[in-house]
Symmetry: C2
């Protein structure tokens, strides 16, 4: 099977123009088909505040009222996405910026209110992702650059976690490609403790133990829960790496960072 | 030759959610291949002011410093473009939102400073438009929705007049399609005077006379100059119509409005 790289870059990289540019130079050098999913960064909160809308974040998730949805549509779908596309084009990578509404690539529904009303937040309908559309783009040497926005097919955009999008796309495409899913951020991998050591690899049973022992906590939990789910569903490889480690991937080396396996 | 509709909708339609929705319902019913180009509307100026950047418009053109470029990237490329795409998808039109950077569809260069520095404003490089890319999208039943932004291929987005984009795309595609170029706005056509009468048709020599006699003035001049240029370069038909007149186009009737011919 042909290899497909699916890379997610987190907010801290996006907030730093020089680091983002370095990352994109390396990303553009990956010769296999590839998809980039980007998060939001602090810019959305900054612009939100400038527009007089105080951001509300609960457990790492942005509460998205209508005004906030407009802000993230502007910032994620416009400012961040289109600047990444323009940079990638300058590095001769044929990038195409997308939200989930474009060509309906990420059908979703507004999250149901159970304990918490997250507002205009989308849960992806995995089985409805149009795999032929994605394959058609990749087969034509187009590199999708996906903003963390989906839509409900009734005309509404929805704010959606970029990690969830990366997983959903990886799962969709793992029957047609050997998918290498890489979560790139500002840390070296999954940290073992407050210090600088990271886990080189974690399997599912180790992960469950580490979670029970509270060695792995907070924001890393939904990330790893999703990542193990992707592995169980057939994604070839999942790694959590520093954005700079992408250079090793370009050289066909195994990047430093944390490799997950089941 | 196969027919291709290229429609441009102006700012006044975009500013009115109900009228925009009506227009998009009709647009989605056009059975032939189609491209939509949208202008900016007042939203960019409003958001610009809220962010403390006073818009500067000289002869109908926005002076685009770096901060203003960010605002138009957010508003045109994100808020307006992606909401149009989401609405079209809800009407079963397979829309794909694009700026000129996406798949490099609109290569441009920053306008040279002669009398006036417009800032980050792009002049399209007509001969470099990748016609095969556009044909590839249209052949696959994808409807491009184009925001008024181009790029310089060095990583910079550029603010670009939506009329100019509509013309450039129409000229690029007129060797492969019978292009019907429709400028849709809030008026019934090119007005004969301050009253309600419009010109049903204007040919090039009449236009030159009307311009000399100052019957046609201001913002209509660059619009018509460009439109006649498109006709001379092989675009099949150019009309300036009310957004509602699109309903007649859907029914294969000749829409009310002003038809231009050479």
């Amino acid at each position: 099977m042909k290899k497909l790289y699916i890379l997610k870059i987190g907010g801290n990289i996006i907030d730093d123009a020089a680091r983002l540019k370095d990352f994109l130079v390396s990303f553009s050098r990956l010769q296999d088909p590839k998809i980039l999913i980007h998060g939001g960064g602090k810019i959305a909160s900054e612009i939100s505040r400038q527009l007089g809308i105080e951001p509300v974040i609960v457990e790492g998730r942005r509460i998205t009222d209508k005004k906030t949805l407009d802000v993230v549509t502007m910032v994620y779908g416009g400012l961040i996405n289109k600047n990444i596309v323009a940079l990638l084009q300058s590095f001769k990578c044929n990038a195409l910026g997308l939200t989930g509404a474009d060509m309906n690539i990420l059908p979703a529904h507004k999250r149901e209110v159970i304990d918490m009303d997250y507002g205009y937040v989308g849960d992806i309908e995995q089985e409805k992702i149009p795999v032929p559309t994605l394959k058609f783009l990749l087969a034509n040497n187009i590199t999708p650059v996906v903003a963390p926005l989906t839509h409900d097919r009734n005309g509404n955009l929805l704010n959606t976690n970029a990690d969830s999008i990366a997983n959903a796309l990886a799962i969709s495409l793992c029957k047609d490609f050997e998918v290498e899913l890489l979560f790139c951020f500002e840390k070296k991998g999954v940290h073992r403790d407050a210090g600088d050591t990271i886990f080189e690899q974690i399997n599912l049973s180790e992960y469950q133990l580490l979670k029970a022992e509270k060695v792995i906590t907070d924001g890393m939990i939904p990330k790893l829960d999703n990542a193990f789910d992707a592995l169980k569903k057939g994604v070839h490889s999942v790694r959590i790496i520093h954005a700079q480690a992408i250079d090793e991937v370009v050289k066909n080396k195994s990047p430093k960072g944390t490799r997950l396996y089941v």
